[in-house]
């Protein structure tokens, strides 16, 4: 496959622009958080929106020659992870009206995008590409779901950090700048709810997609089993507080452990189970 980036000037330009926009967004959120720089406060949200819109335009342009079918190569998945982290964060920011945690989430998005851009510039093709609305939604929802899970883990970490700071009378920089414990708790809940919603969509779309497909899906595929386990764990975590009277501290520990577990699981699956639920791509 020819390198589409080198043949398409707008695509090439966007590929360079997106990491720069993510760096700018992260920098502005960081400048607001660490330095309380007033222009950063004013421009960070518009910059994030521009970054997301540009990113979507880039993906559209990149996938247009293949009928808007996403290639699920590692760089493309990282590219999508960056986008979904930014999108999920933006939804959380709008829904909770809290903009003080952007730096932490966008730093991850920026890192993923930088790696994705470097890898995509070298080799934009590769990886399986799927047709059909169901399978497309299945994969996109999975990426959104994992991004939300990552954000829930991150917020849980920030919650524990602030909790310890207050307990131990360390009224320093983080005490001053992080949102209060109740808001962080709210952010965790939103992220978990997003994660659960997208994982549910992933499962439903997967079922519908497989019904439409002529090929037989291996229901014992480790990825599939892992997805169902993760979905059940997150679903339970939504009700665990009410069911078992857990406090937010325990929830935060659980979500961090789940995030680490899921990350390890996904890496292991990619290494030891490279096929897609046994399908022949």
């Amino acid at each position: 496959m020819d390198n589409i980036m080198l043949d398409n000037a707008p695509l090439f330009l966007l590929a360079q622009l997106i990491p720069l926009l993510y760096m700018l967004s992260t920098g502005l959120y960081g400048a607001d958080f660490f330095k309380s720089w007033s222009p950063a406060k004013t421009y960070k949200q518009p910059t994030l929106i521009i970054s997301i819109v540009t990113h979507i335009a880039f993906i559209g342009l990149l996938t247009a020659p293949e009928g808007y079918r996403l290639n699920y190569s590692i760089p493309m998945i990282m590219n999508m992870v960056a986008l979904t982290l930014a999108v999920v964060y933006m939804f959380i920011e709008f829904s909770t009206k809290t903009d003080k945690t952007g730096f932490f989430v966008l730093a991850f998005a920026m890192g993923a995008q930088l790696l994705a851009s470097v890898m995509l510039s070298a080799s934009p093709g590769g990886g399986p590409a799927f047709s059909g609305l169901g399978i497309g939604i299945h994969l996109l929802a999975a990426i959104f779901g994992f991004s939300a899970i990552a954000i829930a883990g991150l917020y849980s970490f920030l919650y524990l950090l602030l909790f310890r700071q207050i307990k131990n009378n360390r009224f320093g920089f983080l005490f001053e700048n992080l949102p209060n414990l109740e808001v962080l708790e709210q952010l965790i809940k939103h992220a978990v709810a997003f994660g659960f919603l997208f994982l549910t969509i992933t499962l439903l779309a997967g079922v519908i997609g497989s019904a439409q497909s002529s090929e037989v899906i291996n229901i014992f595929d480790p990825k599939l089993i892992a997805l169902v386990i993760i979905w059940m764990l997150y679903g339970a975590s939504l009700f665990i507080r009410r069911l078992f009277g857990w406090d937010t501290i325990h929830m935060a520990y659980l979500l961090i452990v789940l995030f680490v577990f899921i990350t390890v699981l996904v890496v292991m699956m990619s290494i030891f189970s490279p096929t897609f639920h046994g399908l022949s791509f």
Binding site: K167, N169, E176, P179, N180, L181, E182, D247
Partner: protein, 426 residues
């Protein structure tokens, strides 16, 4: 035109001296009226708070200087035995302006960045306006000071963060709970400290405040003052501990009023929902072991002082920014003062040219028609405006320093042969 300021404050005099020269609103009005009526001041203002009494005066007579004003105030207060001129500071002209700017934005205050002083300066200006002792100079000075204070408040962090124990308690509570109006608060003790903390909570929209005190009537009085009217008998309040998200204790007691086992039980009833206990008592009112309980934040006065120290440090770090804002405004104020000095020359210049115009037009009054005369008048006005534009612009030039204004004024007056009687009064 000079502005003198003299006064006593926490930097120059002990509290008994400051108390001795302080002026009530009625006294301040009388004092300002005397200064104006006796011809001592063209303009005058007095700021009198618990920490300072300061006079700002545009002298009305040549002999009026700082020493004169100190003696005048000491005599007015009949305090010659206790108060000496050495207790006063004394500033002139731009230093007076700088001092008022520093006072207004609270960098001259005992507590750096405290929020009350601007209101007190505004009150002082209001009193001066009411007694008609504030003229063009003091009005401009005060409005610039208000603008400095506003800029400092919006562009720096000088006024951020709690610097009192009771306010630090509220700040801490807000770092745990996002909305105090949704939280139930128990105040144990209706003394001064508890009252202050409850009022700070009230200012942050906390409305569900329940008060308990050994003397029930005191609790009822404070509850009525806050408008909550919620009291609990001191004998039975512990039965309701689990209902409260924030507990503030401020009572005089040798023994702990809240013990570990009582809070342990209440936490079980609350299903471990977080609680913050702010122990503002000295000696402490709450068993320190309670702090080890799950989801229990126990903070005493020493803990809250950590917050205060950190906030004061942060405020001190903002001082260079504040000084930069003051310097910028001081330059603008100095330039405005300079335009005051050239104003008589500008007026004389305009009058002289208008006089010439009138005389010349008068010669044509009966030689041309009404319409033609009006046209000639319009033409003359346009020519005068263009001729005067540059000399006036040069006189008003903002880059001038006070030193080169007299030579420039003299040059213009000599070139245009302006009469001497209207010349600048220095």
């Amino acid at each position: 035109m000079n502005i003198i300021s003299v006064g006593v404050n926490h930097k120059t005099a002990p509290i008994e001296i400051r108390e001795r020269v302080s002026l009530s609103e009625v006294q301040a009005k009388e004092f300002l009226s005397n200064l104006i009526d006796d011809g001592i001041a063209q303009e005058a203002m007095v700021i009198s708070t618990c920490n300072r009494t300061e006079l700002y005066v545009v002298p009305g007579m040549a002999e009026v200087n700082g020493h004169y004003l100190k003696e005048y105030l000491i005599a007015y207060k009949n305090a010659r035995k206790e108060v000496r001129p050495e207790h006063f500071f004394n500033r002139f002209y731009c230093n007076t302006a700088r001092h008022l700017f520093e006072v207004s934005c609270a960098i001259d205050s005992l507590i750096l960045g405290e929020g009350q002083i601007l209101g007190q300066v505004k009150d002082a200006y209001r009193i001066a306006v009411e007694t008609q002792s504030a003229g063009i100079l003091l009005t401009r000075l005060c409005h610039t000071a208000f603008s400095v204070a506003k800029k400092v408040k919006t562009k720096t962090r000088l006024m951020e963060g709690a610097v009192s124990v009771s306010y630090a308690a509220v700040e801490l509570a807000q770092k745990i709970f996002s909305n105090l109006s949704m939280k139930k608060i128990l105040l144990v003790g209706a003394g001064e400290t508890g009252e202050l903390a409850a009022k700070h909570m009230f200012q942050k929209n906390a409305r569900n405040i329940v008060i308990t005190n050994r003397t029930l009537s005191k609790a009822e009085a404070l509850a009525a003052e806050l408008g909550t009217n919620q009291v609990l008998p001191f004998e039975s309040y512990k039965e309701h501990l689990h209902e409260f998200d924030i507990i503030i204790t401020a009572v005089s007691t040798k023994d702990y009023v809240l013990k570990e086992e009582e809070l342990q039980q209440s936490m079980q009833k609350r299903r471990l929902k977080p609680v913050i206990i702010l122990d503002l008592g000295l000696p402490r009112n709450v068993d320190p072991e309670i702090g080890k309980l799950k989801n229990m934040f126990l903070k005493d006065i020493d803990d809250l002082k950590h917050i205060i120290d950190k906030n004061l440090e942060m405020r001190r770090a903002e001082l260079p920014k504040v000084q930069r804002i003051i310097d910028e405004e001081l330059v603008g104020f100095g330039q405005w003062i300079n335009t005051l000095k050239v104003r008589p020359t500008i007026v004389d210049l305009q009058s002289k040219f208008l006089e010439i115009k009138e005389k010349e037009l008068e010669r044509f009054r009966y030689k041309v028609s009404e319409e033609e005369l009006r046209r000639m008048e319009r033409l003359s006005d346009r020519i005068l405006k263009k001729i005067l534009h540059h000399p006036i612009k040069m006189l008003k030039s903002p880059v001038d320093t006070a030193d080169n204004i007299p030579s420039k004024v003299n040059l213009v007056r000599n070139v245009f042969d302006l009469e001497e009687q209207n010349q600048l009064k220095q």
